[in-house]
């Protein structure tokens, strides 16, 4: 993918991006402000942003404040219902479920966001390059995509995680999930780019002498932002759920570490007898997926300059 190299190369040249940024710094700042203004008008997205912020704070700041951590403690009485000391009760072994939920949320968020960001970046560029060049380049790149698409994610991740040392740390889980999920994004982006590249403004850019890298990064990808964001937000949800599923079948993050999926798995028999063990992680999984989806909606609308009004 020489065009991407040429982009970094051109960045240093006189025609490159730093110079470009110089021209419109004032305007670009106001563009960011405009996007933010449009985003703020999207009520569901704003509410979701607040909730996601709270969840994130809970997951990352909480452990420093809360007296217990997610591991087994001798000071904790096993099998307690919720109390002031242990709001979500305790497990048989003597874990504080509240602390476990914090840690689990943290791990799940890390996995989900890593998967979403990495896969989206790789998949978007891959798909845009394939769609822009078409022909043989496209055929080869998309066959690679097909190879990754036909392998069932869960089976592949399970096979690799189970056989690689360190395969059950959160980043290993995330990277391996990435490997098998960028392909869907690439597919979506390629489709969008195929139709975008036929538009006259792409030809206009070519007529003024724009390089392929500029066309892809300045024209094609921004215009594909809508579908990319939708796919990325879906991916966050899928990643949280896949991680949960992997942990559930025993191939995800392993004890003593914990994730939301692992917690659900550990307490699946207690759903009716001790619901405080089962519902907090379950509800958090749902909350993360929902908020990210709404934020994606809002972001998609906010990034589209043609959107003058927000429908909600």
């Amino acid at each position: 993918m020489s065009d991407i190299d040429s982009r970094t190369a051109s960045g240093k040249g006189p025609a490159g991006l730093p110079a470009g940024g110089d021209v419109n710094r004032g305007e670009e700042l106001s563009q960011v402000r405009m996007v933010w203004r449009r985003f703020r008008r999207h009520r569901a997205a704003m509410v979701s942003l607040v909730f996601l912020g709270l969840i994130t704070a809970f997951a990352f700041v909480g452990p420093f404040v809360w007296p217990w951590d997610h591991t087994v403690s001798r000071d904790i009485l096993g099998n307690q219902p919720p109390s002031l000391q242990h709001p979500f009760g305790t497990t048989n072994q003597g874990n504080d479920v509240f602390a476990q939920t914090m840690r689990g949320t943290q791990q799940s968020l890390k996995v989900a966001l890593t998967v979403a960001v990495l896969s989206t970046v790789i998949g978007s560029v891959w798909g845009a390059v394939a769609g822009y060049y078409r022909g043989r380049v496209d055929a080869i790149m998309m066959r690679v995509v097909d190879v990754f698409l036909i392998v069932p994610l869960i089976v592949a991740v399970a096979a690799i995680n189970g056989n690689v040392r360190g395969g059950t740390t959160w980043y290993a889980v995330a990277l391996i999930m990435c490997l098998f999920s960028w392909a869907t994004i690439a597919r979506v982006v390629r489709g969008v780019v195929l139709s975008l590249r036929e538009q006259e403004f792409i030809e206009a850019a070519r007529a003024v002498g724009a390089r392929a890298s500029r066309i892809i990064f300045r024209h094609l990808l921004p215009n594909a932002a809508g579908p990319i964001i939708v796919a990325a937000t879906l991916l966050v949800a899928v990643a949280v759920l896949t991680e949960a599923a992997l942990s559930f079948i025993g191939f995800g993050i392993q004890p003593p570490d914990i994730s939301l999926g692992k917690m659900v798995e550990g307490s699946r028999t207690a759903a009716f007898t001790r619901p405080w063990l089962f519902y907090p992680p379950g509800i958090l999984i749902v909350m993360i997926c929902l908020t990210i989806n709404f934020i994606g909606d809002g972001l998609r609308d906010a990034l589209d300059p043609r959107q003058t009004m927000v429908r909600r």
Partner: protein, 742 residues
């Protein structure tokens, strides 16, 4: 029904039984998120049996909505008030079932796009028969016979064979004739044709208008012809109604409205059309500004903000559609027909007697919202030639004075340029199964400071040629040179520095700007690519000013601009690098006439100020005649005639050029009705399988009518060369003969 106040002098009442469509005070309001949108405001008109009424207006003037309301085709969210009576039966407010009985039976409609108004999965015979069977008690066999008969009447050859074909097997012109046949199927009393020829080429347009005339003669129906094309109206209707912002602003006979307009808007519209029969170097007079948003219309006359003669009263009071006071009672010889009276909606229509467009409108190229702004802009010294030329050091002072094209340096040449696009089979192998011969051996040269126009119908390869010259498409064979330097085997990287000199302006102002980039970013992009980012901000402002836009609007996005303004942004982008050659691909064909004139003026000014050379690709001969120094006419990938504009228009030699010129409707009722016509039949053959010998012979009137069997052999066997007939006027016809048409 009571008469309305518009008819102060005796109702049109009873103008008898022959009034078949009687529309009174029709208003349509759509509810939108931003409040009510008044698309049509109190439209009143009547049409008699056998009469043709033209409704003219620009996009968004409400002309289509009016007829959709009459047909009951508007969505439920639209609120329709007033009355429309078809043969004394009220149709506004009828239920769907009731109006369906009237639709197609008494009133029929022809839509703009023949590609989508036929159902692709049924044969055309079935679709015509369906129209017959819906309203009449006949057998299927009879209905089919009727279908064949109708196809014959609208001029479709071999109707017995065609009747079993599917829409995709027919060309656009044929399909539109099928639509006309469906409209005539039940001998309706009114036919409403909504832009019936806008999607078609001029030579096909002439055929379809002919079919429409035939339909009118055959059924004796009244015709309501809705169009934006003043030429089409001039030749085919008896009376005209001009619409603006949802109201009728002028009505009268074609002669009255075209020769003696009494409403500034109608006058402005006439002044902004480039004319095939007009003086070539006359400036066009655009109407400033853009049509108002129907959401919050001005309180008074809707045209007041754009009107050069607007006074205080115009802002306050909506003028009634009435006869100007100075038009007296009809003379003794004329019969007094209330329908044919000349009415206009202007407070000052009396002052407009004998006024010409250029008396009222300024031949400016600035894009301003109101006449006063133009004056300010022009006096401000930014526009006059001196100021702008100073900003462009590349413009050599000597070139402006030289006669266009006369002996100056040749910049861009193409020699025997060929482009074949492969047709590939479906499936994995994608074998090459044929070739579309888009461009087949074209030679051109573009000189310094001249405008060369490349003219032809859709699919003739003119846009492909433009892209071949810029190396946006790679040629199959032949060569392209810029100032003697071959371009055709340069790599993209080698081509890049040359792109500063060669720029392109696109047809579609909506698709050619990146919707996610601000105007400043768009115009600055070429500067960044070519390493001129320093000082780009000031340069962008300069450029926006140069193309007549407000330089403060740089941080806006393209969707906030109107079509004409967007086209100006596209021109600013093309000018950013001070190019020498501008290739303009149909730069004005997507714009309304009143806006188009301003852009044409701008292009002319820029050429003078910056010493640019234009390759002007267009299908519109009137615009070409106005702007070009030399013209090359293309047909099916070949140039059939070239010459200076005067030579080509005063003495066209190739039968195709003659046909093209005579197919352009003139916005002049008398000339349009009396001129000599050379009519071509049929449609352009497929470029994948062009005819042998002369490519035009399948449609050539000379081949069909004048030549003997022996002479024809030569046309079939030998492709004609582009030969000089003296004085540089060249044509590619074995039997060329000059004809005077204008």
């Amino acid at each position: 029904m009571t008469t309305t106040e518009h008819m102060s002098d005796g109702p049109v009442p009873t103008a008898g039984h022959d009034v078949v469509l009687d529309v009174r005070d029709l208003s349509v309001t759509f509810s939108s998120e931003d409040g009510p949108l008044d698309a049509v405001r109190g439209v009143t008109y009547q049409v008699r049996r056998g009469e043709a009424l033209g409704i003219v207006g620009e996009s968004g003037s409400g002309k289509s909505v009016t007829s959709m309301a009459i047909m009951g085709l508007l969505p439920r969210t639209a609120r329709v008030t007033g009355s429309a009576r078809v043969l004394d039966q009220e149709v506004i407010g009828l239920g769907d079932a009731a109006i369906s009985r009237i639709r197609g039976e008494k009133i029929a409609m022809i839509f703009q796009d023949p590609l989508t108004s036929l159902n692709p999965v049924y044969t055309i015979g079935y679709q015509i028969a369906e129209a017959v069977l819906t309203h009449r008690d006949v057998t299927k066999k009879q209905a089919r016979e009727r279908a064949v008969e109708l196809l014959d009447k609208v001029g479709i050859p071999n109707p017995e064979r065609r009747v079993d074909q599917y829409p995709h097997e027919l060309s656009g012109g044929m399909r539109q004739r099928v639509v006309i046949a469906i409209a005539m199927a039940n001998d309706p009393d009114v036919i409403i044709a909504d832009e019936p020829t806008t999607a078609l080429d001029v030579t096909v347009q002439a055929q379809v208008l002919e079919a429409l005339e035939a339909a009118r003669r055959e059924t004796g129906a009244a015709l309501v012809l809705i169009t934006h094309d003043l030429g089409v109206v001039a030749g085919h209707v008896d009376r005209v109604a001009v619409m603006y912002a949802g109201r009728l602003v002028e009505t009268g006979t074609v002669e009255d409205v075209f020769y003696r307009p009494r409403m500034p808007y109608a006058l402005g519209l006439l002044g902004s059309v480039p004319r095939l029969d007009g003086g070539r170097h006359e400036r066009l007079t655009p109407i400033l500004g853009t049509p108002p948003s129907l959401l919050n219309l001005p309180r008074g006359c809707a045209f007041a903000p754009r009107c050069p003669m607007a006074q205080d009263i115009c802002q306050e009071e909506v003028p009634e559609l009435a006869e100007p006071a100075d038009i007296g009672a009809p003379g003794a010889g004329e019969e007094d027909d209330p329908l044919r009276r000349h009415r206009s909606a202007c407070h000052f229509s009396e002052q407009l007697a004998g006024v010409r467009p250029e008396d009222l409108f300024r031949p400016t190229s600035v894009d301003a919202e109101a006449p006063a702004e133009v004056l300010a802009a022009e006096l401000g010294g930014t526009r006059p030639a001196g100021g702008a030329a100073g900003e462009a050091p590349e413009a050599e002072p000597g070139t402006g004075a030289g006669t266009p094209g006369g002996g100056s340096e040749v910049l861009l040449t193409a020699t025997d340029l060929v482009k074949n696009f492969p047709i590939r089979s479906k499936g994995i192998l994608r074998r090459k199964v044929g070739e579309v011969q888009a461009v087949s051996g074209i030679s051109l040269e573009l000189r310094e400071h001249e405008t060369l126009a490349l003219v032809g119908e859709s699919g003739c390869g003119k846009s492909t040629t433009a892209r071949l010259l810029l190396q946006l498409i790679r040629r199959t064979s032949g060569d392209v040179r810029y100032m003697g330097r071959p371009l055709h085997d340069l790599s993209d990287a080698q081509m890049r520095p040359l792109r500063r000199d060669l720029q392109l302006v696109f047809q579609d102002p909506f698709a050619s700007l990146d919707p996610r980039m601000t105007v400043s970013d768009t115009v600055a992009e070429p500067l960044q690519i070519h390493g001129r980012a320093k000082g780009a901000r000031t340069r962008v402002k300069e450029l926006l000013e140069l193309v007549g836009l407000n330089p403060e609007h740089g941080s806006r996005y393209p969707h906030e601009f109107s079509g004409g303004q967007r086209q100006r942004i596209g021109i600013a982008r093309a000018l950013a690098l001070n190019p020498k050659v501008l290739i303009l691909d149909e730069p004005v064909s997507a714009l309304d006439v009143s806006i188009q004139a301003g852009v044409i003026n701008l292009l002319e000014d820029l050429q003078d100020e910056l010493g640019l050379s234009y390759l002007f690709v267009s299908h519109d001969l009137s615009v070409v005649r106005h702007i070009a120094d030399r013209v090359a006419v293309m047909y099916l990938g070949k140039i059939v005639e070239t010459g200076t504009t005067d030579q080509l228009f005063s003495a066209p030699a190739h039968p195709y050029t003659q046909a093209l010129i005579s197919a352009i409707p003139l916005p002049d009722p008398v000339k349009e009705r009396t001129r000599e016509r050379i009519v071509v039949t049929g449609d352009v053959p497929s470029p994948a399988d062009p005819p042998s010998g002369c490519r035009f012979r399948t449609r050539c009137p000379k081949f069909a009518g004048e030549l003997s069997e022996a002479e024809r052999v030569r046309c079939v066997e030998e492709p004609p060369d582009l030969l000089d007939r003296g004085t540089g006027h060249r044509d590619a016809c074995h039997y060329s003969q000059v004809v005077e048409l204008i």
